[in-house]
Symmetry: C3
Subunit: 425 residues, 3 copies
């Protein structure tokens, strides 16, 4: 169930054949959070396609406010699952129950008992469409070159600690980095702390508070071989038993990051600091707000790219880059606003030759699955209204309609395109 | 104790000889809520006068903020009880206790121990006045032609359900309809779901979620014989065992209401829809906001009087009228703003020949008790300052002063009039 | 631990040789609250110097937001403890632990394990400075002529009562009076209800709800002998067993205060009343807001100095003065804004010949310790930036630098001066 707090799904997944999950976004769940959850489920078995076992055809019942899924949203969100690795789209439930605590949970067949309802029609139409789509995209895989590390042990250690700030939420910090890449249309894998990193060019470990045995060495190898590593404030503090690694934060990561964090300031509600760029890093310039925690760091081997703009540690480093072997290790010493993270990650990807899948307007999500010599590009317009964008001059077959399209495309509100392209592009 | 959540007073009342209750409004209790509570207590035994067993002479102690009753308020609220059916006005308590958890609860005799206090004086003056009033209004009855149904089983089923919205509060929805009639100076009975409805011309069943055996049939008879019935969104969903009645909402009420509710949308905080009038209904015109839940309905036999103004169900019906036998059944598919409910209920009453008891400025409450050929009109000025209004050209005796008054009356802030009139007017 | 709610430290202190305490201000603890806490600890053994056993060198860990102490703040707050009677300044803890719930609590030696940190340096510098200071100020005493009574039994009785208002907080009311004197640079002792009052000229007993046996008699003697007594709303209500003293509030204090409180109004959130001056009392004039509780009082023997400006008790007394023997007893019938309390207490002190220790800008705290013929004036600049003020023409030795200074002084942000003067000034 996505970032469910109670279970370490990575541990569990080792003993399972198939990953399935239940996708129930709340009224305030960001679209990118749902995509991140799909990617996390895909990552549980290192990219193997998963099942979307449960979603509601329209309404939930256990949320505080259980709004209907607007027309087209169930279809759109079903394709969002497929786009991120689902080979199966299922519902809870076929019929609404007449009693007990879930009697208001949506179903393909409403309490009225017949098929002449909006919800039934939308389910039936999706079924027809998936039948038409056949097995074309089934068993295809992502081929992302960016990975974000997610670790339940790290999360539990963080959340069960007393201090330094109740405003620090591990999943939120992971999501901030994911969202920046999502907005850039750069596909991301969410991987375990034990994942083989050789396939990746950029690896991000937000708030890597707990560093388990061997992890730092593997990061050093990854960076040494040319990879780009990003870590943040409050990293490298404890070992696998939640005991502090003495000798200066970020502990075992200090070598590859080239910095020492002397103090960790917790900001009060309403307080913020600023990231003032001192070097040119892609499009980043001027100043960006940051908060929650501010590591006060010393650049040991690292270069300083930006410094704090306020408070007694004004002028000390907040963004550093350490050249290590063939690669680079970045440290982001506070929790920045999203504009900063987008600019930073865009530049880091560019340096590694990673380009957006497509340039689309806000709310138009793009992701890719690949099978053999075919690439399937899923384009989802989450906006209520039409959006237009350019898909390039080469005509691509669109799987849901069979038409060949190219150049400027007008995609209706909540509509979906699946473009078939050569995977060698 | 009014709308106390834990006990079904209607069930209890069958085994009691006399209904008594304790009236302790909070700092944010609307005046009309207190009146509704009195009317509910009167309704427990089908209109029999009740006892106001407890009220504080001035201060409570268990509220978060225990303000004093301002001068005149204790008297005013005592008459409010009488106006709604109390034949007895009592206090908790004679003397303030010196210890334990209620030692700050107000009393006729304060801790000072003598009678030279504002509170004692007000109690003594009220006593004298009630003595003067004698038994003139005792055992008189209301003669309201409008009834609102209140059902504890319905409330419990609603509140114990998971979904569709935490914003839905049964008592609040009942109060909205009551308040609209209260502002119109139209007397209302609050009755049980088993009450004999033949005496009424208008029966309102807000959020009649649970429809018990025989209820729908009695409503069909009531409407068939010329009555006006009003029900709302989220009605006719379950039977007496909280099991959904399959075949389409509003279940057993579908026949008399002439509509089918296909879906029930729950609005998010801050969200609203609009009621756009498509037919003339009394003074209602233009558009009114609505929210909490929005039934998406199909008019089967009913006429559409208004439609939703927003969202994907814009243009679908939100207010319908079904001619059934000699009467009419209305369905209000969402929770509207008060201006809409006042306009609607004023028109429905007008159609049944029900007129306001009097036209008074805001905050001047009017209700009636009748005994034999005498009608007693209670006029309560809840405002701090004087209000003026016209009581008609016929001179009426005012019971508290013995004076005969007519035409324009100036009623001091927090003052009370009791007009004696012929009950045949 | 300051105003810790669970233990009556006055009772405990009788059996202890030395008072020590742990000073952990929260992010929203007013500076004057910390000073009051020190003074309370000093008062536990009637002025005997205490130990500051625990403070953090920089960071706490169990607060919601654990910000760093800014440079200079640890030193400044250490001297604040000394200024109010500490003869010892200690830390929790020497080394940060590597595990368990306090592993993020600050320490002299950080997790890095060496001494090259800001925090270590600040601790070491303070140590050197205290060594230099030697025993000069040790075992010196305050010599305040103003006392505020603090009583845990009173607090518990108030807090465990049901009513009249959740907005009433005993410690806050005590702090309001303390803060007014703090802003005036008038030193205050916080004393038990059993303390010998003969050394004081002004005694303040905020919300003296519980009056224990003998207390009223001692206050009568104190006032009779020329003292100034101040009490407030909701005083003199119960005896030592939390049983109400019948016969009119403020019970046993009624004689010395010369008033009767007939009613006690609790104001609703957002509500306030006004104190309208009717007599000249020092600089007080015009009108001041007040709230929480409003006693409605009758001046029996007392003069009326101010009356309520609003509500039905407008024009009734809110500030009274009773001449009793050689002294005066004031009653403040509501909880006023701070400007009123400063004006009132300044005048009451002036009448008793009590002058501010020094006139300083806002945020510059002054307090005094005396030993033999020497007075030590502690001047603490809690502001981030420099402040200037005049210390008089007589040159005084400054203990931390050994320099003699006089006239206008420029004190850097967060810096401290300790002036040695003759105690006979």
């Amino acid at each position: 169930m996505g970032t469910y707090p109670e279970l370490d799904y990575f541990k569990w997944a080792k003993y399972m054949d198939i990953v399935s999950w239940d996708n129930y976004p709340s009224m305030d769940t960001p679209l990118s959070f749902t995509s991140m959850s799909h990617d996390l489920m895909r990552g549980l078995k290192s990219g193997q396609p998963f099942m979307l076992m449960e979603q509601t055809p329209s309404q939930q019942n256990w949320q505080a406010y259980n709004g209907l899924k607007r027309p087209g949203v169930m279809r759109l969100w079903s394709y969002q699952a497929v786009a991120h690795g689902a080979d199966t789209v299922m519902f809870f439930q076929l019929r609404r129950s007449i009693g007990a605590c879930e009697k208001y949970h949506g179903a393909v067949i409403e309490h009225v008992g017949h098929e002449h309802t909006r919800v039934f029609r939308e389910c039936a139409e999706l079924g027809k469409e998936l039948q038409l789509l056949g097995d074309q995209v089934m068993n295809s895989r992502a081929r992302n070159r960016v990975a974000i590390i997610f670790d339940w042990d790290n999360r539990w250690a963080l959340e069960l600690s007393s201090g330094p700030s109740v405003a620090l939420n591990y999943v939120d910090e992971v999501h901030k980095y994911y969202d920046a890449l999502y907005q850039l249309n750069i596909g991301t894998d969410i991987v375990s702390v034990d994942e083989d990193l050789t396939a990746y060019d950029v690896v991000i470990a937000p708030v890597m508070y707990m560093v388990k045995p061997g992890f730092a060495k593997r990061i050093e190898e990854f960076v040494g071989n040319g990879g780009t590593f990003v870590s943040t404030f409050f990293s490298g503090i404890v070992n696998e038993n939640d005991l502090v690694t003495l000798g200066g934060y970020p502990g075992e990561l200090r070598n590859v990051l080239g910095i020492w964090a002397e103090e960790i300031d917790a900001l009060y509600p309403g307080q913020s600091n600023h990231i003032r760029m001192t070097e040119e890093v892609g499009s980043l310039h001027g100043s960006y707000s940051c908060g929650i925690l501010c590591d006060i760091i010393h650049a040991e081997h690292a270069e300083v790219l930006a410094e704090y703009g306020d408070d007694f540690y004004r002028g000390t480093p907040v963004l550093t880059r350490n050249h290590y072997g063939q690669g680079k290790a970045y440290y982001v010493a506070s929790s920045p606003e999203q504009a900063f993270l987008q600019g930073l990650l865009e530049q880091l990807c560019t340096e590694q030759g990673i380009q957006p899948l497509l340039h689309t307007p806000s709310g138009v999500e793009v992701s890719e699955r690949v099978k053999g010599d075919k690439s399937y590009l899923f384009i989802l317009n989450h906006n209520e209204d039409e959006r237009s964008f350019d898909i390039g001059a080469t005509p691509n077959r669109e799987l849901l309609t069979g038409r060949f399209i190219s150049n400027e495309v007008h995609l209706a509100g909540r509509d979906v395109l699946i473009l078939e392209r050569s995977s060698f592009v």
